[in-house]
């Protein structure tokens, strides 16, 4: 079957339009549910996007742009609330993250005013692209906030593990004074502390690497690998902390067992 030149041109035009709309904002083909408490839904602006026909009007583009800005505002407000609620985070990090969220909202507010007042079709398309490229709410700001708060949470867990270490250490000392064999309990407690140290080592450098990242760095391809690496490190830190918690539990169980066991025979 042969395609006429008109058909080919039409196809190219349609493809170009799709590139404009998707590159500018979201490829929202996946209707999977958004995790509760997470960012605004990815499909929330789908009706506006679908209305962009081969020749979208200024009004249709504006509706699409406003929707994309509004859903970013929902996300940013959620992030601001999470930052404010993060009692475990350092005040320095909370301030830095809060400032970034605020400046992003200010920038989007200014862009929305520009879009709402725009009269040129091509200029409007360019401004809609800026919603994503100038702010990078979903691929930079949200991950940055979550990763820095996550790293601070790992750091804050040290105090909690210290308290557990003290309690279990005291119990081990008492058991030993009563003539019990505390080898097992002591080994689990050492494993707990080693895992906590590993987690702290993984998480502690992350904030300094993440906080300076900008949308421009993301667009240049330099921020993405840092974010990916930080996410991997935080995941490893989480694994270490879960291991530490399991070792604390094993130590606790060993002590309970000693409470019921007879006194160990003295060694020569």
């Amino acid at each position: 079957m042969k395609s006429s030149p008109r058909t080919i041109l039409g196809g190219i035009a349609l493809a170009a339009l799709m590139v404009v709309s998707t590159a500018a904002i979201v490829a929202a083909a996946d209707p999977s549910p958004v995790p509760s408490g997470g960012p605004a839904g990815k499909t929330i602006c789908r009706p506006q996007r679908d209305s962009l026909t081969s020749k979208p009007t200024l009004e249709q583009l504006k509706a699409f742009g406003d929707c994309e800005i509004a859903r970013r505002f929902t996300t940013l407000n959620d992030l601001a609330a999470r930052i404010a609620d993060a009692k475990f985070a350092t005040s320095e990090h909370k301030t830095a993250l809060g400032d970034e969220v605020s400046s992003t909202k200010s920038g989007l507010t200014a862009l929305k005013a520009k879009i709402d007042a725009e009269t040129g079709l091509e200029a409007m398309k360019a401004e809609i692209r800026q919603i994503a490229t100038d702010f990078r709410v979903y691929v930079l700001v949200a991950p940055k906030v979550n990763l820095v708060l996550g790293a601070d949470r790992v750091a804050a867990s040290e105090t909690k593990f210290d308290a557990i270490d003290k309690r279990l250490g005291d119990l081990i000392a008492k058991a030993e004074a009563a003539g019990k064999d505390v080898t097992d309990a002591r080994a689990h407690l050492a494993n707990m502390n080693a895992a906590v140290d590993k987690a702290l080592g993984l998480a502690s450098p992350l904030a300094a690497k993440l906080l300076p990242l900008t949308p421009a760095q993301f667009n240049a391809g330099t921020a993405g690998p840092i974010l990916t690496d930080a996410r991997t490190k935080l995941g490893e830190a989480r694994t270490q902390l879960r291991t530490a918690a399991a070792e604390a539990k094993a130590c606790r169980d060993a002590l309970v067992k000693l409470g019921a066991a007879p006194v160990a025979s003295p060694t020569a």
Binding site: Y138, A142, S157, I164, R167, A178, G259
Partner: protein
Amino acid sequence: MNRHTRPTLGFAGALLFGALAVAACGRGGTAPGAAGTPPPDAVATAQASPTPEPSDAASPAPTFDPGTAIDAVDSDLQALDQFLNGLDSSIAGSDGQAGGGE
């Protein structure tokens, strides 16, 4: 007059000495340092003495009962678990595609 005064003073002196002696003995029943009941310091020293009494050797060995201390550990572990759940949420939220990507 003087002749009668001398025996009277001697009798009064004897009475005074006797009264002082009774008062001194009345405090503890025995004058401090006197033979008989040991002074309080000596009693305290004897009680603090590490020298085991024969009956101590037969008493049971110290026992280990984790008791309420384990309850406190359990409470700490539970709080820790909830705290670490927040880390799961942070990691999930750090996925750039979680909010739809850009």
